[in-house]
């Protein structure tokens, strides 16, 4: 490497010097480790709840009443429907058929037909696993009660979170009518937790509070203590100092965030419901969470550092902003397309997470709707886990394809960070330092 001075090499030396200095300075502070430790503990406690919910058995519920025996003839309703006998007449049951059929244990008719779903789109789905629709006892019209000319299927029309209870799903009687509550609960609670931890834990809590405590004073503390004189008596522009201080902070905050997200991805990957030993299909969501949280830390750090330069009690200005962001993240859950979200940071970060979730789990909205539909019988309650999933899963609000949503959101967040840097640098430059 030649030692010929160029602007870039000099910039690089200064940037590295300030960033390294900042990183070491933060590392020496007890408060840094307290903030990070508290963040880790908070995430660990949330993960404990998750592990508990994955280890637990969810009670199998007879969603459609097939295990009951209305006519008290010893044959559960489901078995009578399968053989075409009258569930309300005790003199009509499969035991009278030739050859006679022995009565089933009623527990066999709880969770007798799980959802058969592959991917999300309008169309025809489902398979009658237990055969109570496909039975030859039924006529063609009895096998096609949803009138789509396909016998024994579930018809799905444009699923969306806003269609309301089972409005988009109509199954032929006896198809997917009594899902496995335990597997449904685990799958949807797992997804709800991944989204909840990603959105509220990483992007919101850590994304805001780590910069709040560590970045607000990046420039301000040095100005107050007088040590800024050393840095500012060197041939370095103040906006450079601002930027390189942030870089040093990111040198600590980004690996911290990455480590936490990777840890969460590993824990949920091993404990989550899957056929193999590890749930690889969540990785896309975790990558989106990581991307969103790193960008959130960047924007918040720039903003809070700017507020610190603006006023020596900048943290007081940052707190109302954090409250605003909390309001905005709650808004993304119910109304992800609200225009007001464009004026937040978290709204764009949530777009990235939701778009990542849409790419990795294309069937979330169908899963959610099936849980609310719960087999379609009149007295069916929403399945356990579906309400949690309904809260934390949402569409990304831009109305673009997931990939475009991610690209646009990254650009917007980088623009937000650059704006804060520009303003912070200009403000710092206009400050007199005593």
């Amino acid at each position: 490497m030649s030692d010929k001075p160029t602007i870039w090499r000099a910039l690089d030396r200064k940037a590295m010097a300030v960033a390294e200095f900042t990183l070491r300075q933060q590392r020496k502070r007890l408060s840094t480790w307290v903030v990070m430790g508290v963040g880790f503990l908070a995430m660990a406690v949330l993960t404990m709840f998750y592990i508990d919910s994955m280890m637990r058995d969810y009670e199998a519920i007879d969603n459609d009443g097939d295990s009951r025996d209305f006519d008290m003839d010893g044959y559960p309703n489901g078995q009578e429907i399968l053989y075409g006998t009258d569930i309300l007449d005790s003199d009509s049951h499969p035991g009278l058929l030739n050859p006679p059929v022995a009565p089933d244990d009623p527990s066999k008719w709880i969770d007798e037909d799980d959802f058969d779903i592959e991917s999300l789109a309008a169309g025809s789905y489902g398979y009658d696993d237990d055969g109570d629709c496909r039975t030859e006892e039924k006529t063609a019209s009895q096998q096609d009660t949803n009138n789509n000319n396909i016998p024994c299927d579930v018809k799905v029309t444009e699923p969306s979170y806003y269609n309301g209870f089972d409005a988009g799903i109509l199954g032929d009687r006896g198809v997917d009518e009594d899902p496995d509550d335990d597997s449904y609960a685990k799958e949807s609670i797992h997804r709800a937790f991944v989204l909840a931890l990603g959105k509220f834990g990483f992007v919101f809590l850590i994304g805001i509070f780590v910069p709040l405590f560590m970045a607000t004073g990046l420039v301000r503390d040095e100005m107050t203590s007088g040590t800024m004189h050393y840095m500012l008596s060197k041939p370095i522009a103040r906006s450079e100092v601002f930027l390189y201080r942030i870089l040093g902070f990111l040198g600590l905050a980004w690996p911290y965030m990455t480590g936490m997200v990777v840890l969460a991805a590993l824990v949920t990957g091993f404990f989550g419901p899957s056929d193999g030993f590890f749930r690889f299909k969540d990785l896309g969501v975790w990558m989106a969470v990581l991307l969103a949280s790193l960008l959130a830390i960047l924007v918040y750090a720039m903003l809070f550092c700017l507020l610190g330069v603006l006023w020596k009690h900048g943290i007081i200005l940052a707190l109302p902003f954090a409250a605003w962001e909390l309001g905005m993240i709650l808004t993304t859950l119910g109304a992800p397309d609200a225009a007001i979200l464009r004026f937040s940071v978290i709204g764009w970060a949530m777009n990235i997470v939701d778009a990542g979730a849409a790419l990795a789990w294309s069937d979330t909205s169908l899963l959610l709707e099936l849980g609310l539909w719960a087999g379609g019988s009149n007295n069916a309650e929403p399945l356990t886990g579906s309400l949690a999933l309904e809260i934390f899963a949402s569409d990304s609000g831009l109305g673009l394809t997931p990939l475009m949503t991610i690209v646009v959101s990254i650009c917007v967040m980088l623009f937000q960070a650059a704006t804060c840097w520009f303003l912070g640098g200009a403000l710092f430059k206009s400050k007199e330092i005593d």
């Binding site: 070491r24 300075q25 004189h229 060197k234 041939p235």
Partner: protein
């Protein structure tokens, strides 16, 4: 000291000092905080050699330095550093070393860390910065403790570390804000020697102090500030000459003050004598300059044994008092 060709900063390649301007140039500079005037209408130019900036606390010395260092924006007038406005452009700092008055340092760093980290802001590579840091720490006499934390340093060591940090880029202009304050006698001597040596190398050095005798030991070229105004500028002895018409006191301590008094009483410049003790003589004079130069001859020719001659009221306060007509 290093040779100036070692400078590696990109800025020095782009930015060029204006050679037709003094290193530090103030043109009608005022600085006020609300209704308080920290500096009023200062005009001066400084280039080369050691200049002492004298003034009481609050006279505007630090304000002046902060204006030079671009930390403050002048309320009126122009500040130029190598011909460039330092408030707008930090490039001239490639040639400046600044030792701030602030006590606070990065106590968790070692002296070597501290100096080399900030050396890199001059665009030096890591290795170069380390090499230069070791060199300047040796120059200020701290080579034994370069790997010790600054937090464990004495005040004098901290002061010398700050000076090393300011010298690491081999600056043309060195500014030291109250560098002797709080130093023990040994550190004081070291710091003074360092400053004198820098002056001999032809660097422009600006040292502030509120103690006249300290500055006197370093340089004769002084600037006196009082309540934000420039009261005197130039050679300290020349300034004293101007004060000839003002009564001065000279104190002589010797074996026999009374016999000495007899010989001195006849001198036309003397208008009063007093004897605080048998060995001590106080002389009142209106012509300090002429008497001061003739005194040694008088003493030697008459065979008196004298152990000390000094000016008991020749501190900054009385000097200022005379300069400002008693308003100090």
């Amino acid at each position: 000291m290093p040779d100036p060709t070692q400078q590696g900063s990109a800025e020095t390649k782009e930015w060029q000092p204006d050679v037709n301007m003094p290193v530090v140039y103030f043109q009608g500079v005022s600085k006020s905080y609300g209704r308080i005037h920290a500096l009023s209408n200062i005009t001066l130019g400084l280039s080369g050699g050691v200049t002492g900036l004298l003034g009481m606390n609050g006279a505007g010395k630090s304000t002046m330095f902060k204006l030079i260092m671009g930390k403050l924006k002048p309320s009126a007038g122009e500040v130029r550093l190598f011909g460039t406005d330092p408030w707008k452009n930090p490039a001239p700092y490639a040639r400046v070393g600044f030792v701030p008055e602030h006590e606070k340092m990065h106590d968790w760093m070692t002296a070597l860390d501290f100096v080399s980290t900030f050396a890199r802001l001059h665009g030096m590579t890591r290795d170069k910065a380390r090499k230069e840091a070791i060199r300047v720490l040796d120059f200020v006499g701290l080579s034994d403790v370069i790997n010790k934390q600054i937090g464990q340093f004495s005040k004098g060591m901290r002061q010398r570390t700050k000076i090393a940090h300011a010298l690491v880029n081999d600056p043309q202009l060195i500014i030291l804000d109250e560098p002797l304050q709080g130093c023990d006698p040994l550190a004081r001597t070291t710091v003074m020697n360092v400053i004198r040596e820098l002056g001999k190398m032809g660097r422009t050095v600006l040292v502030s102090s509120h103690i006249l005798s300290e500055i006197e030991r370093i340089t004769e070229q002084i600037v006196i500030l009082h309540q934000g105004k420039l009261v005197a500028l130039g050679n300290l002895h020349a300034i004293r000459e101007r004060l000839d018409e003002i009564p001065h006191t000279i104190r002589i301590v010797g074996e026999d003050a009374r016999s000495l008094a007899k010989d001195i009483l006849g001198h036309p410049a003397v208008f009063g004598l007093s004897f605080p003790s048998n060995t001590e003589l106080l002389i009142q004079t209106y012509h300090f300059g002429s008497l001061h130069s003739e005194l040694p001859g008088l003493i030697v020719n008459n065979g008196h044994k004298v152990t000390l001659i000094d000016n008991p009221d020749d501190d900054l306060e009385s000097l200022l008092g005379h300069l400002t007509g008693g308003s100090a």
